[in-house]
Symmetry: C2
Subunit: 160 residues, 2 copies
């Protein structure tokens, strides 16, 4: 496991997310890490995530932005508290609001790079602005308003 | 094929969408139809689309809202023109901007109902406001700003 990846620090019982859970074997496995003040993730979409032939499905793009956003929110929250990522109690964020602008058709078959900046970091709310590029060209951007997950979301006794 | 379903009228070469394409055998197959002035779609998420155990992944919710929105945009555009759905030239819409508010955790294992209202219908732009409920309770809402797909998106000679 790569300890630089935010999502690898999520507790086991909240690591089944289709977008970023390392324990979801059918999921997207979004992996985000710091690159200075920005968080970066790279993803090559599977061909089934087609919009029209040759182009990437917008719902997949929304999913990538969503999970890169909540991952970055979590990492920014640990950073603000000067705590080591993954230390207890967990700082896991969920999406309160997601906004995506589709700037240009996104070509299939090339790596998509997402770069996120935490533009507002409060105790229970983090806003992350994200730009997605394909071959250096902006194809989408978005904003994730992430809120600290309530303790009740953690079963602390996995159902499986 | 159910002719009331908007997506069943999409031309073959733009029916591979992961969210709503009838020709994508791994996709979600979102199916939208009129119920008076509203468009309605119902979907029961596969269990792989988990957020945390017991709850539906936000990226899937965004995908459902996205495809229900573009489908409704298409149907509203045909309706405005008093044209039969699916008649040539096709009026297929793509998403310019997607907004989703996650109102409450969405339970897994129950049908999700999406209801969309075209709140702005112009020649090349349709805005659709959507509410999603689970067991009668609002769990999410969103807005799709859909734009008429440019002719260049239609290959008119499918690649497969």
């Amino acid at each position: 496991m790569d300890n630089d990846v935010f999502q690898h620090h999520y507790p086991e019982d909240v690591s089944h997310c289709y977008g970023c859970g390392r324990l979801n074997d059918q999921g997207l496995h979004v992996q985000s890490r710091w690159d200075g003040e920005e968080a970066v993730a790279t993803h090559v979409p599977d061909e089934k995530y087609t919009a029209v032939p040759g182009f990437v499905y917008g719902g997949l793009i929304a999913s990538l932005i969503d999970c890169h956003g909540t991952g970055t929110a979590s990492a920014a929250a640990y950073r603000m508290r000067e705590r080591e990522m993954g230390s207890e109690p967990p700082l896991r964020f969920v999406t309160g609001r997601l906004e995506v602008n589709y700037v240009a058709p996104t070509p299939m078959g090339v790596p998509l790079e997402l770069r996120g900046t935490p533009t507002e970091v409060k105790e229970k709310k983090v806003v992350v602005d994200i730009t997605m590029t394909a071959e250096g060209r902006e194809v989408a951007n978005g904003r994730v308003i992430a809120v600290l997950a309530p303790e009740s979301m953690f079963s602390r006794s996995p159902k499986e």
